[in-house]
């Protein structure tokens, strides 16, 4: 019993150290969010808003915009995952033509287009509304998820895949039981990046009638009301931090044991 406990110790220690860096990650985000929320509450409760500012910061309006912001970020990220992960899997299959480097380069160039321009381009194509915004955001955030899916799958030790194949695992079994579980931490990291990009970019949705907290920020800019701009921007940032935190949790709990 004693020897068992002793020999189990190194592993426990190594798990602690990997948790250490992740815990830091999971602590810093809430601290930042808390500081920002405190600042926001201070501004909200202790500022004398004039009539225009009060109208811009009508709570029910803010709630609607925040909900839209969440909605846009969530569904655009979902679209990114649904597109980028399967494409990433496809281009890393051994008998698939080697197009992945070209694909990543092209998407990299695409990312050089300003998000503003991208939203307008999609507006010209698809018209106004939330759907257009979701497609535009998904296009913009495609690269980090695709790249991380490719990298995540390619960093899986070749000998592990080779062993699986040598034991008669089918290509599908190797993918679902070996490659994907081992690539999950990297893929989730990409999704986390994408979701934060999407929350930020959703602030531009108002440009084509997609709603979101961009409306508040825009009104504040137009009417020169700095406190309104701050409240809008701070809410966007809080939503982004919340998604980032959720991503951090996912990274921690989806990481396979033993890795």
């Amino acid at each position: 019993m004693t020897s068992l406990a002793l020999s189990a110790q190194p592993s426990r220690r190594s798990r602690l150290t990997t948790w250490g860096s992740e815990q830091l990650d999971l602590i810093v985000t809430p601290i930042l969010a808390l500081a920002l929320a405190t600042l926001l509450a201070t501004v909200w409760f202790y500022s004398d808003f004039d009539e225009t500012t009060s109208r811009i910061l009508e709570p029910s309006e803010l709630a609607r915009q925040a909900y839209q912001q969440l909605y846009l970020a969530f569904f655009s990220t979902l679209l990114v995952i649904v597109v980028a992960v399967p494409v990433g899997i496809l281009v890393t299959r051994e008998n698939f033509p080697s197009v992945k480097d070209g694909l990543v380069t092209v998407l990299g160039l695409g990312q050089a287009i300003p998000a503003y321009g991208l939203i307008v381009l999609f507006f010209v194509w698809l018209g106004s509304g939330a759907l257009t915004v979701i497609v535009a955001l998904a296009t913009f955030a495609l690269l980090p998820v695709l790249r991380n899916t490719i990298v995540g799958l390619e960093q899986v030790d070749r000998s592990v895949i080779e062993a699986g194949k040598g034991m008669g695992m089918t290509g599908f079994k190797r993918l679902t039981k070996v490659e994907l579980p081992l690539a999950v931490p990297v893929i989730v990291a990409g999704i986390r990046t994408a979701v934060v990009i999407n929350v930020g970019m959703a602030a531009l949705a108002f440009l084509i009638g997609g709603g979101g907290l961009g409306e508040t920020i825009n009104a504040g800019l137009k009417l020169n009301r700095p406190s309104a701009i701050f409240v809008g921007a701070a809410l966007v940032a809080l939503i982004a931090l919340a998604f980032d935190f959720a991503g951090g949790l996912a990274q921690r709990y989806l990481r396979p044991k033993g890795v």
Binding site: S11, V160, M169, K177
Partner: protein, 385 residues
């Protein structure tokens, strides 16, 4: 001596005129190779790096498809069966082990049985049985992850995993190549012990001729293009290399390597002068001068060798003869290799080793002269070819 041993049977694996040509490479990796693997034998493929030995191995379980030729497994053309079904019937061990890092040791070992949809209870029993077999206590290691294992332990699990569904054939691609020499030696010995129970058919790839000699029932020495330079039992290869290539590949120590193949029981034991208590000085000296030797062995009542007694000890020692001379610390048994006997001899200044049976009873002696004459005949054999 012919290449076939006494028990010739239907080959389990047969390669017929197999060629593997890669795109954009001028020389084929494997050129027109034909080879049989007999059931229950360890066939070692050995050769310099890049000679195609690994490619040859991987052709058998269709990790690589041949360009032309046929490979038969149990009389069945492997290119006509589902490769995944085929691989589940053939154990495969690679140098990098390739354990699944996100699965426990038990889950790793259970891989093939699970693919074959064995019932849960049977899988669990099989896993414990296999872990016991490779000397890994299931109660300790079952639920651990591969990152908690040393290299040697990982390869034990690798072997257990390859034996998962009790395949008739094991393909081993430099399985002990990445393991430190001491652990490698232990794993080789354990594996040979395992094989003496399991009698699997094994194709074993290595670049290390010493490992080949130790592990192989037969050795195929391959040159460029996986061409067989010689396929023979190790003692034949060592004493009668087919050509200069084989001779060079064996290196200068080939004759010495034969020592690891021969057992002490294979040579004639030299009679030694034995003394029993109570020792009479005069008689002892007389017996030694009659035999023309300078050293005698003192035995106890149960015939266990105790001490080396030489003339000087008999002549000059004022102490009791029972405590004269030097104690015998190293003994060899008939099952030991001649290499063991040689190292035992080198620890005594007399150039002799005492041979005892399993219960430690004196059988006879082994002298450096008897080894030398054996090596000389072996040496003549090699230079005459």
């Amino acid at each position: 001596m012919t290449s076939k041993g006494p028990e010739v049977s239907e080959p389990l694996i047969r390669l017929e005129h197999v060629t593997k040509q890669y795109h954009g490479v001028k020389e084929p990796a494997v050129r027109d190779l034909s080879m049989d693997v007999q059931p229950g034998e360890i066939l070692v493929l050995v050769g310099p790096s890049g000679c195609g030995k690994s490619t040859t191995l991987r052709l058998i379980n269709r990790m690589i498809e041949p360009t032309s030729g046929h490979i038969y497994y149990e009389g069945e053309d492997v290119t006509k069966v589902d490769p995944n079904a085929l691989r589940r019937r053939i154990g495969y061990v690679i140098q990098q082990v390739g354990l699944f890092p996100h699965r426990t040791i038990a889950e790793n070992v259970a891989t093939v049985p699970k693919l074959l949809r064995w019932p849960k209870k049977r899988i669990k029993e099989r896993v414990d049985e296999l872990l016991e077999l490779v000397s890994m206590d299931p109660s300790i290691y079952r639920d651990r992850y591969p990152n908690e294992l040393s290299g040697g332990q990982a390869q034990r699990v690798g072997v257990a995993r390859a034996l998962g569904a009790d395949p008739d054939v094991l393909l081993m691609d430099e399985p002990f190549g990445a393991i430190d020499p001491i652990t490698r030696d232990r794993l080789q010995n354990e594996f040979l012990r395992l094989q003496s129970e399991l009698r699997k058919t094994i194709v074993f790839v290595t670049h290390d001729i010493d490992e080949a000699v130790k592990m192989g029932d037969r050795i195929a020495i391959l040159r460029e293009g996986s061409e067989i330079a010689q396929l023979e039992r190790p003692e034949v290869i060592l004493t009668e290399p087919a050509d200069e290539f084989v001779e060079n590949f064996l290196g200068s120590g080939a004759v010495l390597k034969t020592l690891t193949l021969r057992r002490v029981r294979d040579i004639e034991l030299a009679p030694m002068v034995t003394l029993r208590k109570p020792v009479h000085r005069g008689q002892a000296l007389q017996a030694m001068s009659d035999a023309g030797v300078g050293t005698a062995v003192l035995l106890d009542d149960q015939e266990h060798p105790l001490r080396w007694i030489d003339e000087r000890a008999l002549n000059s020692s004022e102490r009791a003869i029972e405590s004269a001379g030097r104690p015998i610390t190293v003994q060899v048994q008939p099952e030991d290799t001649l290499q063991d006997a040689l190292s035992a001899m080198l620890t005594t200044s007399s150039g002799m080793a005492v041979v005892v049976d399993a219960r430690g009873k004196y059988l006879g002696g082994c002298t450096i002269e008897s080894l030398a004459s054996l090596l000389l005949t072996a040496g003549n054999g090699s230079s005459s070819s």
